[in-house]
Assembly symmetry: D2
Homo-oligomer: 427 residues x 4
């Protein structure tokens, strides 16, 4: 481990001293990381960690994938274009072509591609602008427990109370409707439709409806295919643009490249980020139907729209989708995960828990407050990274890299079960 | 040029076909770039370009700087951490330490460092949140011709009309005051003070005042030191937080690391991005006085706060600031640039132009509409990248990499003069 | 009829020529009215009309009540104070004392009285301000099909789409929840509670909940006592102020002075206007619990807070409430009305209608679009004033003066049945 | 004084006990008023007061004008229509005809008349709606120290800090520009024009500019004719609707019926209230050019748009304007007032004061804080009603009924000089 020996000085104190109190994961995972490969990380003490966190869904292809790594080094060595705003570069053009050939065309998706700035919230903000520009309306409908980002536009459609308070201003131009199964005594689709068709509902006709098919931050709530179809139908009926925020659930996380494929819907706008960059490098895309491409040049822009290192890795990452092999493997691993969760919930009734989610985006919702956090903490001590989700951090969340092998999964499961037993004080 | 031969297929058609109409620089610079070094770029036809654009201020240290390049390749080769959110990593810690040692401490700036997401607009949005949280107020005072970013929070304090319209919603919680010298018959400081001290002015007491010392997008308008000191004094008097957006003017662009050093002011909050990453990789920082560090953990977050490749390059970039050699060189080149502009304006009175700016961030404002754009276009054809600035694109803007040598400058000057003569039809 | 002979020149043309297109009732009731008494009006052609409209609920005590009339003339003759802003006057003091003695004290309501400007929307705007000031929050929860007024604050909590559009700006700081029985598949109380207790719902904790117990403009929707109790319970649980807008349903319209008495709830704030003035003169009150009286002097004001003629009539009007005789009479007449509506709906199944409302605030909701308007029009021709209600004007609405006698009611019923038969083309 | 003997019980305690803390004038003028005539009032102790307050500009024709009084009593006695919403009535039609004949036609003002609800803030809210509807824009430009009303729309364009805070929400969709002479170092017209013509100013093109020609609440600041013409010119140039809020300065207060007549401008929209009702009864008008009459029926409405008693008095009040006699008398009295103020300011240099205003809307601005309030208080004790104005209540304000005679003026002047001497402790 040469790196750690070269820089022996980096300790947690450095972060405590110089970095803002806003830092968060360095508190949940209080160690200094130095190296990573596949589904594993190591810290400066050479302790090994299994990754059930995957950079919050950014590392679907694992850490430091070898094919991408080789290409990146080659690209850098050749003094190829690194930063290009939205100028045309070879790396950008190659990505555009391959994204069209491997992802869009086979799925009959006639989308234009926009590079909105390299973060998820940039993709969301551009989607909102486009929906408003196209319709001339201002309101965006979002859902309970949604998470779409931390800049003011995205925050206005995010559910989390403490994040919203952080805005420091009242958040406007949005309306939060009940997500699928949000309230046992409310039929979400029926309510939404009645709101929209009644001229007295107090809800202004929205420009767009933005939805996550599986809510990653809001508690791993998976919408049913029927509900998603219902939302699409409502959007069509009232001339509202349907936006799928596939930033966390996309790029194969739920088994298909786009998470909405299994529901058979076709959103007007799609936001991608996180794993689209392949190697964990900042990148985001906004996709939309050709007829929506009414932007003026430069109407939305940003300095880092041309992160060419990300384009190189992203292009290589698309190779996973040239055949259906990868998708099938993910499905198999998802089944293992589902089975593990089902068993766990059944085996430990004292956990008072229920399974959540889909694909390799699953979780366990615990009734008792604080317990999910304790389990994550215990798992970290045993060498596994995992985070909580939900408005009260009531869910512990499985988000392993999609490329994890079965041995890795099993090892992770074991750590989690051990951690759970410790927390529940089961000998 | 091996890369271009490997990927012969990338043509401008690819971008026209697949990328959104929102693309903009690929229209001003209509060629496919493939390679870059220092202050030069090459396209797939192996045509060479001198860079007076520097990625809109992102490439102060030039393209593909060799020292950073070596470190990046080494870092990648060792499978070091690439993506880390805000977990502690060796690369992040090393940057924090060096940033403190080389930049903050010698300037007696007792700032905490926040990683707000890797784009300028993220830094600005976090600054606004913090100012609002600290003061419990909602309004932000910004200035005419300001540019702070394209997400809704940043856009609400941006002056440009067409960018603002892109929001699709009325922008609120902001008040735009006249910048230094904005209107010949208005004393900006006197007006602002009267607005704030009169309980009947209709301007709610702001949480923060955000200012660029030189307005990069708004027309290369440089605020005088006296005006900046006046703004700081007003901010202090009324308990308003002073935010300097140093995203474009910082990192040495005007001669000192922070652009506000020569005015002798000390902002409460500073936004950095663009060249802070050194190599053109997405990165941003929000700096603020220790007593402002009242964030809750995770109150502002984002997926790409841990772009470790950027940290590696950024750390190396700080070496330029270990002594004052680099700053002095920038100053010398700035003098050459000033001299060139003065001569140009005098020599071509038919241009009806005036010099603008400071350091290696200067421009020429032309009275006649459209002329600056024509000059940039002619320069591009002659092998020089340069962009316009200002609400009517009335300024052509010199933004060479700070590491450019005198020969490069002279060659660029010649191209510009030639272009200008062509446009003005001077034989 | 001396008046009409004195001013023979007033014709409908005058209004068409000089008055704005915004005029509305002069289109539904296209004649020039000149005289009125009790539940009757006459136009300049001396045609008589039965009033089932009562100035949209302003004339609960009928037109030109003799007792009030005598007092008004006496008051004017003595050159008593007419206009007083919020100075102390005899008329204002007398009203305050009597309102306390006859209305508040017997109902154990320990409210302070505010004169917010003499229109309903003023009362509502002051209530919103107070709720926001008390709680430090900004959001107001209102309900589908609510109507609270036409100034921006009140309009933001009003449901009607076309009224909302009239604002010309996006309406903010409000959230519209389903009213009792709004959607068959939604349990309103359960949904509201889940929104408030889930920190991820995207609904900011409201300052106040504003509700009409019977929605006068929104379709004569009467909330059940259980639902109102549920709303009060939720408001208490979450520290939200409960505001009842009793502008149309109050002052005896539903049988008790305050419409919320039968539900046994005790709002934090109550808005009164319309019939509180007794004689149809502009007046409004905002009542609130003593502990909410945190206003600064003059923090909400207005020129016509001291309409003393209204105070004189309003004081006399309170006499109706000294015993329970009046309330009992209203109840008896309400029973007659209910019976008539039930019969009507049953007798004319082709109307596809359902009864709505409570007390002397009832209506008939017709499935077929346009039919209610036609019935109102036919009734007008037969000498009866009646208006429609509901987002699609689908309800014809019975709002006779409370002092109407049974003969008047019967005569009105006959006209309505005749009109209905004509519209339905029944022999 | 029969009234006081009949109701001997009304004491200040009644108000303290039952009325909200928001009451304000009953604190400045702490007595119970009972009778009024012309420019005098009496309290329950039969103490007489000279009125230099005129109901904050509502009683331009004095208290209980005999001609109006007779007509009102006659109207009431005949059971004429009292309350009519916007139905056609004889009283409304007669007013419309006479307003056109006496006011609009002779001034070549081709305005349509709207009855927006009977308070000034209703008129303003309707004007804002109309400007926004016509232009499709949202921003309204108003001025420093403006006062336009207390409902959210009007408050958003009001300058006063404490009134604005009362909103409890951030006020939006408005921009406050410097009024004429607001800041000695700012040329208001030049600044406004530069804001509007520069596409980078950060000010969205407004729907309307709303202005008071003399700011009644904001410190009796009178705009010069040149400035008003300049504002009109700017409005025309940029296609912005010019709204004059003539609620306090109109109806002859500054010498002509509309305050803007002397500047020779022609606003697109005019708001009237206060003295338009003649007798102090609630009434308001919104006037606008015929081509702006794009309202849908009922798009703005309100219960008390048909306050027929006010129409009767308002119609009679128009008689004052049939010849120019009344205007000339006002002018003469205004000269007396100006002369008095000039002398006062000169004679008492220790007052450190300056004259303000125009017509019978003048004031004295005192440098020392609190002094104007003390003078008003001392005057009240001596039997004169007068109020302060300005953001710091730094102005004592002369607003006598226009019908006051010279003896009344002189008596008032004497009281004021005496009060001033007491406050300044001059023997």
């Amino acid at each position: 481990m040469t790196i750690t020996s070269e820089v022996p000085k980096v300790k947690m104190e450095t972060f405590n001293q110089y970095e803002s109190e806003v830092r968060s994961y360095s508190r949940s995972f209080p160690t200094v990381f130095t190296k990573a490969k596949g589904y594993k990380l190591w810290d400066t003490d050479e302790k090994e960690y299994i990754d059930f966190f995957a950079g919050a869904g950014t590392l679907n292809y694992g850490h430091n994938n070898d094919a991408m790594k080789t290409l990146l080094i080659d690209y850098i060595e050749k003094d190829s274009i690194t930063h290009s705003l939205d100028m045309a570069t070879v790396a950008r053009g190659t990505f555009l072509q391959k994204f069209n050939d491997i992802i869009l065309q086979p799925r009959n998706l006639d989308y234009k591609v926009m590079f909105p700035g390299p973060t998820g919230t940039n993709a969301v903000e551009s989607a909102l602008k486009l929906a408003r520009k196209k319709t001339g309306r201002t309101t965006i409908m979002s859902f309970t427990n949604a998470f779409h980002g931390m800049t003011i536009g995205s925050l206005s459609i995010t559910g989390n109370e403490s994040k919203r308070k952080g805005a420091g201003i009242p958040l406007a131009h949005s309306i939060s409707m009940p997500f699928d199964q949000y309230n046992a005594k409310t039929d979400s689709l029926s309510l939404i439709e009645s709101y929209l068709e009644n001229g007295g509902s107090g809800i202004d006709l929205p420009a767009g409806i933005i939805v996550e098919t599986v809510q990653g931050e809001g508690g791993i709530n998976a919408a049913s295919d029927e509900w998603l179809k219902g939302i699409e139908k409502i959007a069509k009926k009232f001339g509202i643009l349907l936006i799928v925020d596939d930033i966390q659930a996309g790029c194969g996380r739920t088994g298909t490249f786009f998470s909405f494929e299994r529901a058979g819907i076709e959103p007007d706008i799609v936001c991608l980020s996180k794993s689209i960059g392949g190697y964990g490098l900042p990148m985001a895309l906004t996709l939309f139907k050709k007829e929506l491409d009414i932007w003026e040049p430069g109407e939305h822009n940003g300095t880092f729209r041309g992160n060419n290192l990300a384009f190189v890795a992203a292009t290589e990452a698309l190779s996973y989708w040239e055949t259906d092999t990868f998708a099938k493997e993910v499905e198999e691993k998802a089944d293992l995960l589902s089975e593990f969760i089902r068993t766990l919930v059944k085996k430990y009734p004292e956990l008072k828990a229920e399974p959540r989610g889909r694909g390799l985006m699953q979780g366990v919702a615990c009734q008792e407050e604080g317990i999910a956090e304790k389990i994550c903490h215990a798992a970290f001590e045993r060498g596994l990274l995992m985070e909580t989700s939900g408005p009260k951090d009531e869910v512990f969340k499985f988000l392993p890299p999609l490329i994890i092998d079965k041995a890795g999964l099993q090892k992770g499961f074991q750590i989690i079960e051990d951690s759970l037993k410790t927390v529940l004080k089961i000998n």
